[in-house]
């Protein structure tokens, strides 16, 4: 029989998280610090709107780019939150989660050989999606001493004549790093100087602490060079609804829409109706979740401080990224032993790129009580490692 598979897909490694997931699944009494989704239920008024849309019999396709009403609300929301305006008719596409946005953007923009700059540690799908889109991924390893922000110098050094696109994943999963306006300005200058485009994944934009999220699309001359990805999964606690969106200048959006149209058709209809309610009436609920995350963030940093575990202060998403370099083992060894010996699951930094070696992703999408129990166990583990 002929080989049924494409060489390209066979060569792509499965997500490093998968392996860990399988191990944890066999340990029913493990407590986890390993999830990348909110612990909150979707706010009830959003769920109710989803239920109502089903009751109303809204079970049909929507137009390819999404419900007009929703796109108008997204437009208003982005104007309010990041101060960039997009035409709901031609510059906003409602997608199946933020993930689909990553995929259609890369497929719409890349020709074979085009290089995509991917800062790491970062979310697991930029690199494989680049390969699937026939692009060439070029990793920029981010450094703890820069608080895991991308600097203009690092960007400049990675650019070649083939570079076309920069992925900008902030607020960042797994590090929790954010980029402020001051951090973004020099990066934007380099982008303009080399005539690059930016894929700005802002899925955690609602979750910043102490300062508001700033989008690179809002900087002078950057709107038409940037595709903004966002969605409802993190800020609105709607992961399972699979709903996101991608926004950018019409010329690019038109082509992305073709891929979306042929591959997906449209995002889930009842999720779209539910999300309208989220954008219109859920500021308070989102704020309450943000406050709770921020309290847990402070708690974890405080506890790591007491444990003597080195950790830079992250101001976004719901992750902290402590260093475990002092223990002289790999992230994977550390995470595996932590799971075996104390039944606490946390994801090794290397699942998000090789430069995540020496770090652990700790999620605080858990109640304070759960975090206390897990931190107690982690503390015991760390003490034991130090004493032998």
């Amino acid at each position: 029989m002929r080989e049924p598979l494409s060489k390209k897909i066979v060569e792509i490694k499965p997500s490093g998280i998968r392996k860990f997931f399988d191990m944890v699944s066999e340990m029913p009494d493990a407590i986890s610090l390993g999830v990348g989704e909110p612990d909150f239920d979707t706010p009830w008024r959003i769920r109710e709107e989803g239920i109502y849309s089903l009751e109303r019999g809204r079970t049909f396709y929507t137009s390819n780019s999404g419900l007009k009403e929703l796109k108008i609300e997204i437009g208003k929301y982005l104007q309010r939150k990041i101060n960039v305006s997009y035409d709901p008719n031609s510059e906003i596409i409602v997608t199946v989660g933020g993930s689909e946005g990553i995929d259609i953007a890369l497929r719409a923009m890349l020709d074979p050989g085009d290089e995509v700059l991917i800062p790491q540690p970062s979310y697991v799908s930029y690199l494989p999606c680049t390969i699937l889109a026939n692009g060439t991924p070029v990793v920029i390893p981010l450094k703890e001493e820069n608080d895991f922000k991308l600097t203009a110098e690092e960007l400049e050094a990675a650019i070649t004549p083939k570079t076309k696109l920069l992925v900008l994943p902030f607020p960042n999963n797994p590090t929790g790093a954010i980029m402020t306006r001051e951090d973004l300005e020099p990066v934007a200058e380099v982008v303009k100087k080399h005539d690059l485009y930016v894929l700005s994944d802002e899925i955690y934009s609602e979750l910043t602490y102490g300062c508001d999220h700033v989008s690179i699309a809002a900087l002078p001359g950057m709107r038409d060079r940037t595709l903004v990805i966002n969605g409802f999964s993190k800020g609105f606690a709607m992961t399972g609804w699979r709903l996101g969106y991608i926004c950018g200048q019409k010329h690019i959006a038109e082509q992305m829409l073709k891929i979306h149209q042929f591959a997906i058709m449209c995002a889930p209809t009842n999720s779209q109706y539910a999300a309208i309610e989220g954008l219109r009436n859920c500021d308070d609920e989102v704020q309450q979740m943000r406050t709770a995350y921020n309290q847990r963030r402070r708690y974890l940093l405080h506890e790591f401080g007491k444990m003597g575990l080195s950790c830079f202060e992250p101001f976004g998403a719901f992750y902290v990224f402590p260093s475990i370099k002092e223990f002289g083992m790999t992230s994977e060894e550390f995470a595996t032993r932590l799971l075996d010996e104390e039944k606490v699951a946390a994801v090794p930094g290397t699942a998000f790129g090789e430069c995540g070696e020496g770090f652990l992703r700790v999620s605080y999408a858990y109640s304070l009580d759960d975090l206390k129990e897990a931190i107690g166990r982690l503390g015991r583990f760390v003490e034991r490692l130090r004493s032998c």
Binding site: V24, S32, G34, D39, Y123, S125, V347, L368
Partner: protein, 163 residues
């Protein structure tokens, strides 16, 4: 300071047992500031008490609660205050609210037995001068109290590890 006070209140409203040290970490402040603010707010009667929400059914203790709609004849200069304050004096009364709508006051009452609550209504509440009428609703089951669910919610089905 106003902002800090609000944060303290919001937290205590849901969890009055918070440890001072922990509260200081969560709210990005220090223990002394929080202790001072709390003491001051107690003095100003902004914080009126620290209560515990108890499921007496589970504790195996018989309790009967009733919600009573009360029509009251208002008095010149005093409105409903005099009668309402008088009703507050009875220890079995747990809350008294002035409300809009068909009745004037809503009174909640707690007793050991149905009989005890009934006797209170017929023997103490109704005979009060200026009380025109009462309608008593016995509470059969509490689903949610003080913002807290009183029934068991399904366990989260979230997967243990996700990217």
């Amino acid at each position: 300071m106003e902002e800090m006070r609000n944060q303290i209140l919001k937290y205590l409203e849901k969890n009055s047992r918070a440890d001072l040290g922990e509260l200081a970490v969560l709210l990005d402040s220090d223990e002394v500031t929080i202790a001072n603010e709390m003491a001051q707010m107690e003095k100003e009667k902004i914080i009126c008490g620290y209560h515990t929400l108890i499921d007496w059914d589970k504790a195996g203790v018989e309790r009967v609660n009733a919600l009573i709609e009360v029509s009251v004849k208002p008095q010149r200069d005093k409105g409903f205050d005099k009668t309402a304050e008088r009703i507050c004096n009875y220890p079995e009364v747990t809350a008294v609210y002035l409300t809009s709508g068909g009745y004037d006051l809503i009174v909640t009452v707690e007793g050991k037995t149905l009989m005890e609550v009934s006797r209170f209504v017929s023997g103490k509440l109704s005979p009060i001068e200026d009380v025109i009428s009462t309608t008593t609703h016995f509470i059969l089951k509490k689903y949610k109290d003080h913002g807290t669910l009183m029934f068991h919610k399904n366990k989260s089905e979230r997967m243990l590890v996700t990217p």
